[in-house]
């Protein structure tokens, strides 16, 4: 039976473009850019940590939008997009915490502390991972879509809290940098990696959305007709 979920090639093109930009940005960050004045070479994790953070926040924001659209539209494609973006977001933010931890040890002197930025980020990962777990427990696709969309909207409340945490409270984590607070020569690798990771992330979401849509289609399909061998002889 032909699937109604369209097969597209553009995600693979995006994946390739993203990987190329990431390779160029990472090469620039590791080999072309000079060391930082106080941190020496340790600062170079910035070139992956900051793009990961931006993209994780963006993806979770998108997940919140998908969840609302899924509740308001009754279109199953929004549910597939929600599942995909939450999963990619959780992967990105787990990577984010690991990178941050690796950077924190040599600069702050600790792997982790219950600073507002770190704590709210941990809550964000747990919340979205929790919604993904919730999806596994609901068999009815319609209920699954409704429940996980409601839970995802509530979870996405933490996204602005993570963003503003360093402004609202005293924290160990620094405030966001601006172009003015970062030397110009550091900008290009950062920009290349950010755009590269954005393209890569979009491609992953698109591919994962297709998987979710195909699974949903298989779930909703009527059971196959009994094979002739199993039929009662008439």
């Amino acid at each position: 039976m032909a699937s109604s979920v369209p097969r597209t090639r553009w995600p693979y093109a995006l994946l390739g473009c993203g990987a190329a930009l990431l390779a160029a940005g990472t090469y620039g960050g590791l080999f072309s850019a000079p060391p930082e004045r106080y941190m020496g070479d340790v600062y170079r994790i910035l070139y992956i940590h900051v793009p990961t953070a931006w993209n994780a926040m963006l993806v979770f924001t998108f997940a919140g939008v998908c969840a609302l659209a899924s509740l308001l539209s009754d279109d199953a494609r929004w549910d597939a997009r929600l599942e995909a973006s939450m999963e990619v977001g959780v992967v990105l933010s787990v990577l984010l915490c690991a990178q941050g931890s690796l950077w924190a040890k040599p600069t702050w002197g600790v792997w982790w502390d219950w600073d507002p930025r770190l704590t709210t980020t941990a809550i964000m990962v747990m919340a979205f991972a929790g919604v993904l777990a919730l999806r596994q427990f609901v068999d009815d696709p319609v209920r699954r879509a409704t429940w996980s969309a409601v839970a995802a909207v509530v979870a996405s409340a933490d996204v602005p809290i993570v963003y503003f945490s360093v402004r609202w409270w005293n924290s160990l984590h620094q405030q966001p940098s601006s172009p003015g607070s970062v030397s110009v020569i550091f900008h290009r690798p950062l920009l290349l990696n950010s755009v590269g990771m954005l393209l890569f992330t979009l491609a992953l979401i698109a591919l994962r959305t297709r998987v979710a849509a195909l699974r949903l289609e298989a779930e909703l399909a009527p059971p196959p007709a009994l094979s002739p061998a199993l039929r009662q002889p008439s």
């Binding site: 040599p106 409601v150 160990l172």
Partner: protein, 169 residues
């Protein structure tokens, strides 16, 4: 299936209406959560560390309790103990408060005069802060080395001073 086409359309419409309420409810809960955090943050009910001013204001309540003290290391105040580990310095905040800190252990590599620190420990009756865990907070600035500065990673790791402690050539 016994339902007519009209029935199923009515079902879809009612489900959509129910979802609209669910969406509204979820958004309301989310907004309430953000607002609660915002108000808690502005009301300073959630505090990660105290500055020297708040620490002084707490008086005896700060003695014996586990507290985080945050602020800037005062220039010229750093004294390394006679033993290999152990360090003393003053921490100041923008409001003019200042507290003397005695910390055990080896300070992080980035530690230097003028940098932000967060120290976990407790206030003592003697009037100094007994630090158990010394953390260094890095600002949001990333700068290339100045003209003529030579960044030698091995030297940076050894010195624990960064380039700021280096003599200009």
């Amino acid at each position: 299936m016994s339902g007519t086409r009209e029935d199923s359309v009515a079902l879809a419409v009612s489900r959509r209406r129910r979802n609209r309420w669910l969406a509204l409810g979820a958004v309301a809960v989310a907004l309430a959560a953000v607002l609660a955090f915002l108000l808690a943050g502005l009301g300073e009910n959630l505090v990660y560390y105290w500055g020297p001013t708040e620490l002084r204001a707490a008086g005896d309540r700060a003695i014996g309790a586990t507290i985080r003290l945050g602020g800037q290391v005062v220039a010229g105040s750093v004294r390394r103990g006679g033993s290999v580990s152990g360090i003393e310095f003053d921490v100041a905040d923008r409001k003019g408060g200042q507290v003397h800190v005695k910390a055990s252990g080896v300070p992080p590599q980035m530690f230097r005069e003028g940098i932000g620190v967060v120290v976990e420990g407790t206030m003592t009756r003697a009037g100094y802060f007994d630090g158990q865990r010394l953390m260094v907070s890095h600002g949001s600035e990333y700068r290339t080395p100045r003209e003529g500065e030579n960044v030698d990673m091995r030297q940076l790791i050894k010195s624990t001073q960064g380039l700021a402690g280096k003599k200009e050539p």
